[in-house]
Amino acid sequence: MIVIDQKKVQSKMKSRIYRNQFFKYLFFSGTLICLLVLVILFTRILIQGFPYLDWQFLNSLPSRKPEEAGIYTALNGTIWMMAVVAPVTLILGVGTAIYLEEYARKNKFTSFIQVNISNLAGVPSVVYGLLGLTIFVRALHLGTSVLAAGLTMSLLILPVVIVSAQEAIRAVPNALREASYAMGATKWQTILRVVLPAALPGILTGSILALSRAIGETAPLVVLGVPLFLAFLPTSIFDEFTALPMQIYNWTSRPQHEFQSLAAAGIIVLLGILILMNSVAILIRNKFQKRY
């Protein structure tokens, strides 16, 4: 009995091979389109913004005249905000991760916290803005200060920091912990002197990536009411401020072409900071990541 009809198979072979080739190139071109868009986006912004990018641009206050305007206050405000975001997020994020990985028992409460964290990661940033507006700006009377914005941003990136710190801590092999206990160390001594140093590169990499997200995030700041335009610098965390993405947003929404070029120049600075932070993160990962 002949199960396979050779002639039938042969007659279809050509079109099957042809289809195979066709889709290979189709899938490849799908990938290529993404890369192409990236290239267009970068070149477009570079071409438009580069002529405006000079020392004076980095060092000037915002102005109604495009040729005099700069990002000094915005850049300063972003640094001020990150000075609040970085410590708050690191303490809360790493603390939570240590608790969940090292101390928490596997019970309903722990898995509730875990599910809660992954759900928080999916909440739109604009909703965090509403939370910050109600709690920090209005209820705690912090106004649109560096502190209010910094705390809002911290809550926004906290889930990302927690999850990456958890992964880093989980990757530390148990043998190290056991060895430390065997030497007579207590649990906290083991965590502080063995687990955390071993997990540090992973924690830092994840945290830097999360912090770079906070630098580029705009929507929560707009909802909080952070001014789009400010001609003075903050001197404490209770002062008003403006941030780099807010300044870019301000320039983008103006109809004049010069301001849009300024926005492009601002974007170059913003992307430059992000690329720098990402490179540092990758460098830390490659240099210190031990393979156990």
């Binding site: 799908g30 809360l92 997200r213 580029g216 705009t218 929507a219 992000l274």
Partner: protein, 314 residues
């Protein structure tokens, strides 16, 4: 025989010091987990905070505007007197942009995922994957700028009737933005399909494309669907692209060439303006925010449910 000197120095005083230190150590050992639990509770408090602020302010809103009007009226015009608060136009704006974004992101993301998991060599994958992830790391404000100053003008040369603010341009750019999410999660799902299954199909004479379509995609379908649902959730919650390039004219319908307004863009518009604290407009952003929150929460839970429910075991 001379014993080590320390042995003799264990005087009563030293023993007391030792015991005190031990007590201190024990206190620290007890205190630390409690402090760490406090930090863990912050994330629970965040959720409670989000729910409470949204619920309370939304409740105030519904004391002034009926829930029935909010859900069924077909005009959203809060700045008239009295304001009209029917959320359907905002939802319609959000959905138009989201549908376009998904139409762009699903074909691009899944073909990139297939290429990376089944066709690309190890070296190519190691180069292309990080570059794709750069797309996911670009701030949304940059995408917004790109949509308004580049994509819209380019589209207008092909579609002259396209308004300066429209749903099409932010939709396309948003699609590019969520492509890496879909590509990366789908690729994870496809790479998790064991090679023995692929090789079984290849040994039966299937071409690579047939293996992809009839073996890999069905086996990875739960992960792929979950990635698409997560992409939809991100598109619904995305704010800056639509605020910059989408416009601020809430309207109901299917037209993607005219100016629209999404839920997120409305929140931004009001927060930026001077809607005084305590006005109905002020409370309306919480009602809209709550609706948005419910949409994204439903999507996220759905994605988690799919990933858990139809997980293939090998």
């Amino acid at each position: 025989m001379a014993l080590p000197e320390e042995r003799e120095s264990h005087s009563v005083r030293d023993l007391i010091v030792l015991k005190k230190n031990n007590r201190k150590k024990k206190a620290i050992e007890k205190l630390v987990p409690k402090l760490l639990l406090l930090t863990a509770i912050v994330s629970v408090l965040t959720t409670i905070g989000i729910l409470f602020t949204l619920l309370i302010e939304t409740f105030t809103f519904f004391q002034r505007v009926s829930l029935f009007e909010f859900l069924t009226a077909d005009t959203w015009y809060p700045f008239s007197n009295p304001g009209e608060y029917g959320i359907l136009p905002l939802i319609s704006g959000t959905l138009r942009v989201t549908v376009i974004a998904i139409l762009v992101a699903v074909p691009l993301g899944i073909s990139a995922a297939i290429y990376l998991s089944d066709y690309a060599s190890d070296r190519t994958r190691r180069i292309i994957k990080p570059i794709l992830e750069v797309l996911a790391g670009i701030p949304t404000i940059v995408y917004g700028f790109f949509a308004l100053t580049f994509v819209t003008p380019v589209l207008r040369t092909f579609i002259p009737s396209l308004e300066i603010f429209n749903a099409l341009s932010p939709g396309i750019v948003m699609g590019i933005m969520i492509t890496p999410t879909i590509a990366s999660l789908s690729e994870d799902a496809m790479s998790a399909v064991p090679y023995s299954i692929r090789e079984g199909a290849l040994a039966l004479g299937a071409t690579r494309f047939e293996v992809t379509m009839k073996v890999v995609l069905p086996a990875a379908s739960s992960g792929i669907i979950a990635s698409i649902v997560l992409g939809i959730s991100r598109a619904i919650g995305e704010t800056m692209i639509v605020s910059i390039a989408g416009g601020s004219s809430p309207n109901l319908g299917f037209n993607v060439t005219e100016s629209i307004q999404t839920m997120t863009a409305y929140i931004v518009q009001v927060a930026q303006g001077d809607a005084g604290y305590g006005t109905t407009i002020y409370y309306s952003i919480y009602a809209v925010g709550f609706t948005l929150f419910l949409f994204t929460l439903a999507m996220n839970l759905f994605a988690a449910w799919i990933a858990r429910r139809i997980r293939e075991e090998y």
